[in-house]
Amino acid sequence: QGDPAITELQPWMQQLGEGVDARPYGMPSPHEAHVKRRSVEWLTADPVSSVNFTPLHDLDGIITPNGLCFERHHAGIAEVDPAQHRLMINGLVDYELVFTMEDLARFPRHNKVYFLECAANSGMEWRGAQLNGCQFTHGMIHNVMYTGVMLRDVLATAGVQTAGKWILPEGADASGMTRSIPMDKALDDCMIATHMNGERLRPEQGYPIRLVVPGWEGNMWVKWLRRIEVGDQPWHHREETSKYTDLLADGAARRFTWAMDAKSVITNPSPQAPLTHGAGPTVLTGVAWSGRGSIPRVDVTIDGGKNWHQARMDGPSFDKSMHRFYFDFDWDGKPMLLQSRAHDSTGYVQPTKNQLRQVRGENSIYHNNGIQTWAVDARGEAENVEIG
C-alpha cells in the first residue's frame, strides 16, 4: 500500500511551526531526549563529588557538544560570577599580579581542539569486563575546541624566575583543586581557556576560566582557575599522592603519570547501540586519541583478533585531539567479536588489557588504555567482554 510516513499527511507538513525566538537558546529535538550524560550511582558516595559520562555511542564526528561533555566535580559546580573572579599569579615571579577576566581577554587568543580524558577512564575495567556500554567504560572523555590565551604569555607578564620550575594551579570551588605541573609543560602548550566550541565555558566545565593541559590527565585541567603559584618543587597535594598515582603489583606506585597514552573504542555498535538492521551493509565507527600526538591509523577486527583491517580515518586530524574512524563492511548476521587498536604518531600501538596487566598488575585504577572487546550476537546485541 505504501509507507504511511509518505502516504499520510504529517502535522509538520500542514501546520505552522514555532517562529524565530521561540527557542532563543536552542535544544536538540525531543526525539533525542535519551542522548544525555549518565552516572553510575554506586561509584561514589555523593553526586557533588562524582562523575558522569559522555554518551559516545550517540555522537559522531570528533567534537563533543558542550552539554554532553562529561562532568567530574570534587565539591559540586562552582557558580562563579565572572565580575567577582580573579586570576592571581604569585610565588617565584618578579611581579605578583592579579588579572580580571577583562584583562585576560586582552592577551592574544588561540583556538585549539584537544581531548580531555580523566585518568580513571576505563578504571572500573582493570580487573575485568564490568560495565555494559562505551558511555560507562570510555565516557570520561570529551573533545572540544578551546579559545583562550597561552599560559606562557600570562606567566611572562609576571616574569618567572630561574628557580621557578613548577606551577600550582588552584581552583575557586569548595575543593580548592590543586595540581603540580612542571614549568616546561606550562610554557609549552598550556592555555587558559575562556570558550569551548565557540561559546563561554559551561559552569560545569570551569566557567569563567579553566586550565588546558593538552594530552595530560583531566584532573590537571583545573576548573574555575583562580590562582597559579610558581615554585621550585612540586607540592605533592592530595590529587597527586593519595589519588592519581598508579599502584603496581609490588605495592609501589608510579606518580606524575601525566600523559594519556593512545587509546580507542568502537562506539557503534556497542552495548547501548546494538545493530538493529540485520545482515547487510553496516557502518562500524569509533574514536581514537593519544596524549602524545595524533592518530594516523586504527586497526579493527570483527573476529576477536584473528584478522585485522585498517579502518578509514575521517575528519580533521589534530595533535592531542580525538580522531574518528569508520569500517564499512557487509555483516553476515553471525556473532562477532569487535576490537579497535590505535596507532599514534610516535609509533606506539594500543596494548591489550592483558599486556597492561602483565606490566602493572590489577590495582592501578588509572591509565587503562587497553583494547576494548564487544561481543555482538546474531540479533545484533552487543556486550562488554574479555577474550583470550
Binding site: 588552584e170 599522592t241 584473528k306
Partner: protein, 388 residues
C-alpha cells in the same frame, strides 16, 4: 616591586609593546621565557593581604605552614563533630566516603586499602587538604590550630603517634610517613613504550578465540529503559512518544511503593498539610529558604526521589516525629528523641537548627547552626513545602 610595576603600567598602553627590558625584568626572567615570548603590560600588582588570603598551600618541607599547634585529644573532639559523619568514628568510613585509617600492609593485596597511614607519602598533604577542602560542604572553616589538631588525630587513628602527641610546624615538617619511599616517577617511557611499539600482526594472528569474562554476569550497569525504547522506536520507525521523563517517572513511582517499616510512624501527610494550611507559605520566604538550604544540601535531600545520604531525607520533616526516617542510622541522641516522642514543630526545628550541638549533644550532624532568625524561618518554610 609595586613602584617598578606602576612605572611600567604608565607606558603607552599598547598591548604588544613593552618588552622585558623596558619592564625592568631580571635577567633570569628573560632566560626562562622562550625567545619568542612577548611581555604584555596587563594585570595589576597583588597586595600582600590578597596573597595572604589565597596562598594557603602547604608543601612536604613545611613551606606554607602557619604558626599554631594542635593535640590528639582536641583533634578527637573536632573529628567527631566535623568528620565522623562521613569518615566514621575510627576513620573506617561510612558508605563510599574515603577510608582514612588502617590498611597498613594491604597494598599488594587483591583489594588494597589506601589510607593516610597505609598510602599517603607526606603528612603535609593531610594538613593542606583538610585546610582547603574540609569539612565537606564547609571548607576553610577550621582555624589553623584546629587543622593541626585534626591532622594529629588522623595520625593517632593510624597508630602513627601516641595520644600525647602535639603537631606544629616543626613536628609536621619532619614527620616521616611509613609509605613515603614507595613512590617513583612515571617510567612508562622505559618500561612500556618499547613493548607497545612496532608493526602488529594483521592476518591469521591466532587460531582460537574464547570469551573469558562478561559484563552481563557482573550486572552492575545502570538500567536505561527510556534509551532502549528510543532505540526500538528508531529501529522500527515507530516513535511511540515515550520520553526520558516518562520513563523516570515510572521508576520514581515504583520506588515510592516501598512499604513503611513496621513499628515506625508513617510520615503523615497531615503534617505537611498543616504547614501548607490557610494562606500557604510565603513564596519569598520559601525562595529565601531554598538558598539557605544549600548549606544543608551536601548531606540532606528533599523533593522528588529524595533519599537518605549523609543525613536523612527531609521530605515532610516539619511537624513530624523526630528520628524515624526509614533506613537512616541515627545517633544515640536522636534515638532518645524518637523514644521521647519529640515532634519537629517549627519551634523545635528552629531551636535545633540555631545550635545543633547544644540542642542535641553528640548529634552526627556536623553543622554549626544558623545564626539569623530570618534564615531559620526561611529554611523551615522551605522544608514545609515538601510533603512525604
Amino acid at each position: 616591586i609595586g613602584g617598578a610595576y606602576v612605572a611600567a603600567n604608565m607606558m603607552v598602553p599598547q598591548v604588544h609593546t613593552p618588552v622585558a627590558a623596558t619592564l625592568g625584568l631580571t635577567a633570569q626572567a628573560q632566560q626562562t621565557a622562550p625567545a619568542d615570548t612577548v611581555v604584555f603590560d596587563l594585570g595589576r600588582p597583588a597586595t600582600a593581604a590578597e596573597i595572604a588570603a589565597w596562598d594557603i598551600d602547604i608543601r612536604p618541607d613545611g613551606a606554607g605552614l602557619p604558626d599554631g599547634s594542635g593535640d590528639v585529644w582536641t583533634g578527637e573532639d573536632l573529628y567527631i563533630d566535623n568528620c565522623a559523619v562521613c569518615h566514621g568514628d575510627f576513620g573506617e568510613a561510612i558508605g563510599r566516603w574515603p577510608v582514612l585509617a588502617g590498611g597498613q600492609g594491604s597494598l599488594t593485596n587483591d583489594r588494597p586499602v589506601k589510607t593516610i597511614g597505609s598510602y599517603w607519602p607526606y603528612l603535609s598533604t593531610v594538613y593542606d587538604y583538610v585546610n582547603r577542602a574540609m569539612p565537606f560542604g564547609n571548607a576553610q572553616s577550621l582555624t589553623d590550630d584546629e587543622v593541626y589538631a585534626v591532622t594529629a588525630y588522623l595520625l593517632y587513628l593510624n597508630d602513627l603517634v601516641d595520644d600525647d602527641f602535639v603537631l606544629d610546624r616543626e613536628t609536621l615538617s619532619t614527620f616521616e610517613m611509613p609509605n613515603r619511599d614507595a613512590f617513583y616517577m612515571d617510567d612508562r617511557a622505559d618500561t612500556e613504550y618499547a613493548i607497545f611499539t612496532g608493526e602488529p600482526c594483521m592476518e591469521n594472528c591466532k587460531d582460537t578465540v574464547e570469551i573469558t569474562a562478561r559484563a552481563a554476569v557482573v550486572d552492575v550497569t545502570p538500567e536505561d529503559e527510556a534509551a532502549r525504547i528510543a532505540r526500538q522506536a528508531a529501529a522500527t520507525g515507530t516513535d511511540i512518544g515515550v520520553t526520558e521523563a516518562d520513563a523516570s517517572a515510572q521508576v520514581a513511582a515504583a520506588e515510592t511503593d516501598d512499604p513503611v517499616e513496621e513499628g515506625t510512624t508513617p510520615l503523615a501527610a497531615t503534617a505537611t498539610d498543616n504547614a501548607l494550611a490557610d494562606a500557604g507559605p510565603d513564596p519569598e520566604l520559601v525562595a529565601a529558604g531554598e538558598k539557605v538550604f544549600k548549606q544543608c544540601s551536601a548531606c540532606h535531600q528533599v523533593g522528588d526521589g529524595a533519599r537518605n545520604r549523609t543525613g536523612p531525607m527531609l521530605n515532610g520533616i516539619v511537624d513530624h516525629p523526630a528520628g524515624v526516617v526509614e533506613g537512616f542510622r541515627y545517633s544515640k541522641v536522636f534515638g532518645q528523641f524518637a523514644e521521647d516522642g519529640l515532634v519537629w514543630t517549627p519551634e523545635e526545628l528552629s531551636a535545633f537548627l540555631a545550635a545543633p550541638r547544644d540542642y542535641a549533644p553528640r548529634t552526627k550532624m556536623s553543622f554549626r547552626g544558623l545564626e539569623s532568625d530570618d534564615d531559620l524561618a526561611a529554611v523551615i518554610a522551605y522544608l514545609g513545602t515538601f510533603a512525604q
